[in-house]
């Protein structure tokens, strides 16, 4: 079932001079049409400034289209009366966990979204428990948020989103400020949520290795989507990746080299496991 539908989305930012007069417009999203189905895991890659963050901010009406339509479960983001319902359905986590945690204590921060929606205390308590449990940070419930590690902080912001039971999870480079172990841990949790609870996941990443979790990889360049394919097919499209300024995963490079040397490989492997299987 389709839950996100985007038609001819264009976003222009106004470029203003010192007197706040608009002197020109900058096209940041350039005619994107796309549909995303329930339960899909989408990964968006692209270099800095290619419009990835702007694109996902259009999904929950943080940014409104200059033209075109974004529809979430049939609700258009342009219609102000849909605002809360759209945001309830899309949980969004951003890059820097420090800049999205509102409260000093973990449980208070997790509750923030529910407080905004007028939940009762008992319900909040139950859901905080659940979501901290899913992410495995139950012990930190009463900890101070600024004493946690980067990975834990990012999990706290995720817990705050999960407890709203959003059906769509948007993660804008959630792992760029945390170390490798924290990264793998967090993404594995997200992957489980996607598989177990059929939550649609849209992950923006600047680590190309992370596309291995995805069903579909979108490559963005200059506000356009220049690739929409499976991870396996994506790593084979060298010209497109080159155009978008993305380097191949280390393992894929290795497998390509081995293939040239006559090994029986496809040249699109990107996990160590896959490579090992072929080398056996």
């Amino acid at each position: 079932m389709e839950n996100i539908s985007i038609k001819n989305l264009i976003v222009d930012f106004d470029i203003t001079n010192e007197e706040n007069e608009i002197i020109s417009k900058k096209r940041v999203i350039d005619d994107i049409s796309l549909s995303i189905n329930e339960g899909e895991f989408i990964c968006i890659i692209g270099k800095n400034g290619s419009g990835k963050s702007t694109f996902v901010k259009c999904l929950n009406a943080l940014i409104l289209p200059s033209s075109g339509d974004v529809t979430i479960y049939g609700m258009n983001t342009k219609d102000e009366s849909n605002l809360i319902n759209i945001r309830r359905n899309i949980g969004m986590a951003f890059q820097n966990p420090d800049n999205q945690i509102v409260a000093s204590i973990v449980e208070e921060d997790v509750a923030f979204g529910m407080e905004n929606l007028g939940f009762e205390s008992e319900e909040m308590d139950k859901r905080i428990d659940e979501s901290l449990n899913i992410l495995g940070i139950k012990d930190s419930r009463y900890s101070q948020t600024n004493k946690l590690s980067g990975g834990q902080k990012q999990k706290v912001s995720l817990a705050g989103i999960l407890c709203l039971k959003s059906k769509i999870l948007v993660l804008d480079e959630p792992t760029s400020m945390i170390d490798k172990n924290g990264r793998i841990d967090l993404l594995n949790k997200v992957y489980e949520l996607n598989k177990n609870q059929k939550i649609t996941v849209i992950l923006i990443s600047h680590y190309i290795e992370e596309i291995k979790y995805a069903d579909r990889v979108l490559v963005m360049n200059n506000g356009k989507i220049i690739n929409d394919d499976t991870p396996k097919n994506t790593v084979l499209k060298e010209e497109i990746l080159l155009e978008a300024g993305i380097e191949l995963p280390y393992i894929t490079k290795l497998s390509k080299l081995l293939k040239e040397k006559g090994k029986n490989l496809k040249g699109n492997e990107f996990t160590v496991k896959e490579l090992c299987q072929f080398l056996k």
Partner: protein, 277 residues
């Protein structure tokens, strides 16, 4: 270096005072401060002392933590004692060259010292036994009547709690920027006041830029989590008076009545504070 500053001096402990509703504690502190300034004779000070001793005993915070706040007040205290002692005109008790100590001077100096010390101890007990977020909650709920006058109480409280949350982050940031600028040869420690103020510019500008970026990010994050200022928000832990809170209010009422009554104690045979000196 800067990171060592601790904000809010909450001392975790399971005590009756800790468990009181923050509104009660705010009112109690206010009542106590007022009582200090309407006290005129020794009985009032006696009651205030008993009140304070009970509070110190019940909050179960080690005494040395409670009086820690006095350290920073020491100089102010000495200055005020000095001026009151030597510069109050009146009946001279002792004269040391140009300095003359008067009877009135001694009385005022003692009163001032007691008031200042009690004031600091009283408010220390409040901050030691109440977390900053509870305090903001208490203020929000306690001042909610101001909503009638279109004061955005809830928004102000949210702003306060967000500010509290970002203080450690910004302190860390100052530290980082300072180190970065010092490694480029910036000098924050030497020079006169004007030079020092000038040397803060390369610190403040990056700090402001980053604070605005953080504010922008936070606004997006809050909106994504369905924040809107017109919606009615609920609380995870709504403040609710318990029996002990009502009892404390009753004791407070009793206390303030006693303090007022001391103004009428003028029995012969009981030495009045002034005559005692």
């Amino acid at each position: 270096m800067i990171r060592d500053i601790t904000l809010g001096q909450y001392y975790k402990k399971d005590s009756i005072v800790h468990s009181l509703d923050p509104r009660v504690k705010l009112v109690a502190t206010l009542v106590f401060l007022v009582s200090l300034f309407i006290s005129t004779n020794i009985f009032a000070y006696l009651f205030a002392t008993i009140f304070l001793i009970i509070a110190i005993y019940m909050c179960r915070v080690p005494f040395k933590f409670i009086i820690r706040g006095l350290k920073s007040l020491l100089i102010l205290l000495l200055i005020s004692i000095f001026f009151n002692l030597f510069l109050t005109p009146g009946k001279i008790v002792l004269s040391l060259g140009i300095f003359k100590i008067t009877k009135e001077g001694i009385i005022i100096a003692i009163k001032m010292a007691i008031r200042l010390i009690y004031l600091v101890i009283g408010s220390s007990i409040l901050t030691l036994t109440t977390t900053p977020s509870k305090l903001t909650d208490g203020l929000e709920k306690g001042l909610s009547f101001l909503k009638v006058f279109k004061v955005p109480v809830a928004e102000i409280a949210l702003m306060m709690s967000i500010a509290l949350r970002f203080i450690p982050i910004l302190i860390e940031e100052v530290d980082k920027i300072m180190n970065a600028q010092m490694s480029r040869g910036a000098d924050f420690e030497h020079g006169n006041i004007i030079e020092k103020a000038k040397s803060l510019i390369p610190l403040l500008i990056p700090l402001f830029v980053s604070a605005f970026k953080r504010a922008n990010d936070l606004a997006y994050a809050m909106e994504s989590r369905c924040y809107s200022s017109d919606a009615i928000r609920t609380k995870l832990r709504p403040l609710k008076y318990k029996k002990i809170d009502y009892m404390t209010y009753a004791y407070l009422l009793l206390y303030i009545i006693l303090i007022f009554l001391t103004r009428y104690i003028k029995i012969d045979g009981i030495i009045k504070f002034e005559r005692f000196l």
